[in-house]
């Protein structure tokens, strides 16, 4: 091939390139029509919107709000590292988002900084309560999951045939251990109140009281929220140690526990976490004795709707058994009515403040 033809080829290619650039600069924004709507935006942490955990729940909350109110449009930005939080939030501020939902205590600093710099911007942050200046518009969404975990503990203790139940977590931090701590408290309460001796494996509560910010203790942890094989291995170990109900607090790792329960045969169950297992994993409903649910989706939905309507109130929202911000939901296993009654009693006692969810209030079974 001669040089001339090659020259023409390259010239053609460059013309195409220049043309594309020209058109792209001249093009109008395709999302212009969305500008008139109320924008609800979520910045996820590194888990992304499909993490089967609170990022996904928050995104579902946004979508649910958009379904309720057709004037709401929704957007998300995932973060690949903590360095992305601040620019992601700022990006949404400059895009004119009506409310920005941030997820998790890791975004505490970035959310607080953005709120202080833009006091009129509405924020909702899941699982965290940042310290911000007066005049800012931040709604902290937090959930006392140890309350529902407590009920889960009673359910597990009432259902076990072997007299041993177990729990494990993804990582040893408070968003996770709060559930486990409540679970252990519920089992101990059951033992004390009904003179049983059900044992719990996988979590030894620390000395003090647990709060949303800190909940110390030691136990079994996978080290992440993704390794289902590890979840299966650990659950099988619990089963071999005599447990027949396992409560994984580790997002999708819990699916490994379901697999282990199937493998172990009849009489082995899983207590699901966060959002109802019989909905998110309907095929395995018969392995779930129940779900210790956390109301991320409804609370996010409510805050977005209020922001769209103009009734948004900054401050703090604490999800409890009382306001259904956390709850025990039953699964696909038959629960005796007597046990349900015991759970209802305990729930009323917690709401009334007469029953403590601190495991240290009850003696541990050796």
């Amino acid at each position: 091939m001669g040089s001339f033809r090659r020259f023409v080829t390259v010239l053609g290619a460059s013309a195409l390139m220049v043309g594309t650039l020209t058109i792209s600069v001249a093009a109008t924004s395709v999302t212009a029509s969305a500008a008139s709507k109320f924008k609800a935006c979520v910045v996820t942490d590194t888990g992304g919107i499909n993490d089967k955990s609170f990022n996904e729940s928050a995104w579902d909350g946004l979508k649910a709000a958009a379904k309720q109110d057709s004037n709401i449009s929704v957007q998300y930005l995932s973060s690949t590292s903590s360095a992305d939080y601040a620019p992601n939030i700022n990006s949404f501020i400059s895009k004119g988002c009506g409310i920005i939902v941030t997820v998790g205590f890791l975004m505490d600093a970035a959310t607080a900084a953005a709120a202080n710099a833009h006091p009129s911007q509405k924020f909702a942050i899941v699982d965290d309560a940042p310290t911000v200046k007066a005049g800012t518009h931040v709604l902290a969404l937090q959930y006392e999951t140890d309350q529902a975990g407590f009920l889960g503990g009673i359910l597990a203790a009432g259902m076990t045939k072997t007299g041993t139940v177990a729990t494990y977590g993804g990582e040893n931090f408070s968003a996770v251990t709060l559930y486990m701590n409540g679970f252990v408290a519920g089992v101990r309460y059951f033992d004390k109140t009904y003179s049983k001796s059900v044992k719990v494996l996988g979590w030894t509560p620390g000395k003090g009281t647990c709060s949303l910010a800190a909940c110390a203790g030691s136990g079994t942890f996978i080290g992440n929220f993704t390794d289902q094989t590890a979840g299966k291995t650990d659950t099988t170990t619990f089963f071999s140690e005599g447990a027949d109900i396992v409560f994984p607090v580790a997002g999708s790792v819990g699916l490994g526990s379901v697999a282990a329960a199937k493998l172990a045969g009849a009489g082995h169950y899983v207590m699901w976490v966060d959002s109802n297992g019989c909905e998110s994993d309907a095929a395995d409903c018969k392995y779930f004795v129940g779900t210790v649910a956390k109301g991320v989706e409804p609370s996010v939905e409510a805050s977005v709707l209020s922001a769209a309507k103009g009734t948004f109130k900054a401050g703090s929202y604490i999800g409890t058994l009382k306001n259904d911000g956390t709850a025990l939901e039953y699964g696909g296993v038959m629960i005796p009515a007597s046990l349900k009654a015991k759970i209802a009693t305990a729930k009323a006692g917690i709401i009334a403040g007469t029953i403590s969810v601190n495991p240290n209030s009850y003696p541990a079974v050796k």
Binding site: M1, G2, S3, F4, R5, R6, F7, T9, V10, L11, A13, M17, T20, L21, I23, S24, V25, A26, A27, T28, S29, V30, T31, C41, D45, T46, Q75, L77, S78, T80, S81, S82, A83, D84, Y85, A86, P87, N88, N90, S91, F92, S94, K95, F105, L106, A109, A110, A117, E171, N172, F173, S174, A175, T177, A213, A214, C215, A216, G223
Partner: protein, 436 residues
């Protein structure tokens, strides 16, 4: 030596230009220069092809575009609209990448004429530099190892350890800036060096393959990271979550234009610049770097020339690991000022991105600077693209990967653009395979 026919062609001789009018002949002589497959041309064309590839992905995955094309099944008159919708979508995506990573022309004009809104106008380019800074440093570390024929796949783990070590110095000691910042930087370097020395020593004295050791060592460092951010001395006081202590203001790399500007670009760019100068000196001017390059290009000749191969391996791993550690520290000290359990894990693993950046930059310091800026711009601009068009950020990763693919297969690029062989040396892959 056998005679191989093409080798007998004297260098620089090209086919006579015998077609086309005079102007075309002159211009085409110029084109011959620029269409020869020099590595820089290959890299530029690879970037272009990556963008074309991204455009195809956008066009074939955006519902609006697909709907427009579906409509032409009903009536041909929909064709111009379909074409327009395609170009609109691709155009707005790339425009968002550009305005989100370099500058928005409208905002720039506004700032220029009114003198207002400069921080907003400069945010995109500031973000690009913020992300490029640690990437330059770690990629140079990886590139130096590549030039020595060593694969440091563990740069990410070394960056994690460097980040932890530096953040620990920066948060647990309390000193005036003049001492604290240098000590913090040294802490990062020392952490990375420690972590790099191990695979280096194992390789030099037991022959353990560095790819395996460094790769596996990454997992050790991730486990250590979780341990560190969840254990008392380093964990943020009053937290039971996986978050480390916040560094003192005296230890951080402060924003260049002050905290008030909101621009995150920090004094870290000077650290990166110093690393670039150091790497240039090391590779091009120092006798130690000469030893490295000889070892990388021909280990047998290196041995015969009296180069101590073991020492070279250990020293290269110390330098490579030290730079990775410095990069991890720069990342913390210029952005969050604290480390959490997700530090440099997953997509944020700059130590892995560094491998592709070094490849794209052909292991040369300045090449790495350009490649880092490109990758940072795609990431930063990709975020803007997602925020304004809804096209997922992952597209930026797709484009990055496509570019690397094209760079790694120069033959493909040469075929697509029908380039002639380079007048001098043939294009060499930046690395030499998994040899030891």
């Amino acid at each position: 030596m056998s005679e191989i026919a093409p080798a007998e062609i004297p260098q620089g001789s090209n086919e006579p230009v015998d077609e086309g009018p005079v102007w075309a002949r002159r211009t085409s002589a110029l084109w011959v220069r620029y269409t020869s497959s020099s590595p820089i041309v290959i890299a530029a064309l690879a970037v272009f092809l990556g963008l074309v590839f991204g455009a195809i992905i956008i066009a074939t995955t955006t519902p609006a575009v697909l709907d427009a094309w579906r409509s032409i099944f009903h009536h041909w008159s929909g064709l111009p609209v379909a074409i327009k919708v395609t170009f609109d979508n691709v155009g707005s995506a790339y425009r968002a990448i550009f305005t989100g990573s370099v500058v928005d022309p409208q905002g720039f004009w506004h700032s220029l004429t009114t003198g207002k809104g400069w921080p907003n106008t400069l945010t995109p380019i500031s973000e690009t530099f913020t992300y490029a800074t640690p990437l330059v440093i770690v990629s140079i570390g990886v590139g130096i190892a590549f030039q020595t024929g060593l694969f440091n796949i563990g740069a990410n783990g070394q960056a994690v350890i460097g980040g932890i070590a530096g953040a620990a110095v920066g948060s647990m000691l309390h000193l005036p800036t003049i001492l604290h910042l240098p000590l913090t930087l040294l802490g990062g370097i020392a952490g990375g060096m420690l972590c790099g020395a191990l695979p280096g020593v194992l390789k030099a004295y037991t022959g353990a393959h560095e790819v395996i050791v460094t790769l596996m060592f990454n997992y050790v460092t991730y486990a250590f990271l979780l341990y560190a951010v969840l254990s008392t001395p380093f964990q943020q006081p009053g937290q039971s979550n996986d978050i480390g202590r916040t560094m003192d203001p005296s230890a951080i790399l402060a924003p260049l234009f002050g905290t008030k500007s909101g621009l995150r670009v920090s004094y870290g760019v000077f650290v990166a610049a110093a690393v670039v100068v150091f790497a240039w000196w090391l590779l091009d001017r120092s006798s130690m770097g000469f030893d490295f390059r000889v070892t990388g290009a021909n280990p047998a000749a290196a041995r015969a020339s009296g180069i101590n191969g073991r020492r070279v391996i250990v020293v290269v791993f110390l330098i490579s690991g030290g730079l990775a550690g410095l990069a991890g520290l720069v990342q913390v000290a210029s952005t969050t000022h604290y480390i959490d359990g997700g530090f440099l894990i997953g997509n944020a693993g700059i130590g892995f991105t560094a491998i592709t950046v070094a490849l794209l930059g052909r292991n040369r310091p300045m090449g790495i600077v350009w490649a880092s800026l490109l990758f940072a711009a795609l990431g930063v601009g990709g975020r803007n693209m997602q925020a304004s068009t809804g096209i997922p950020l992952d597209l930026a990763t797709v484009i990055q990967s496509a570019i690397v693919l094209f760079v790694a297969t120069p033959v493909l690029v040469k075929e697509i653009f029908r380039l002639r062989a380079a007048p001098t040396a043939t294009v060499q892959l930046a690395t030499k395979g998994w040899g030891s």
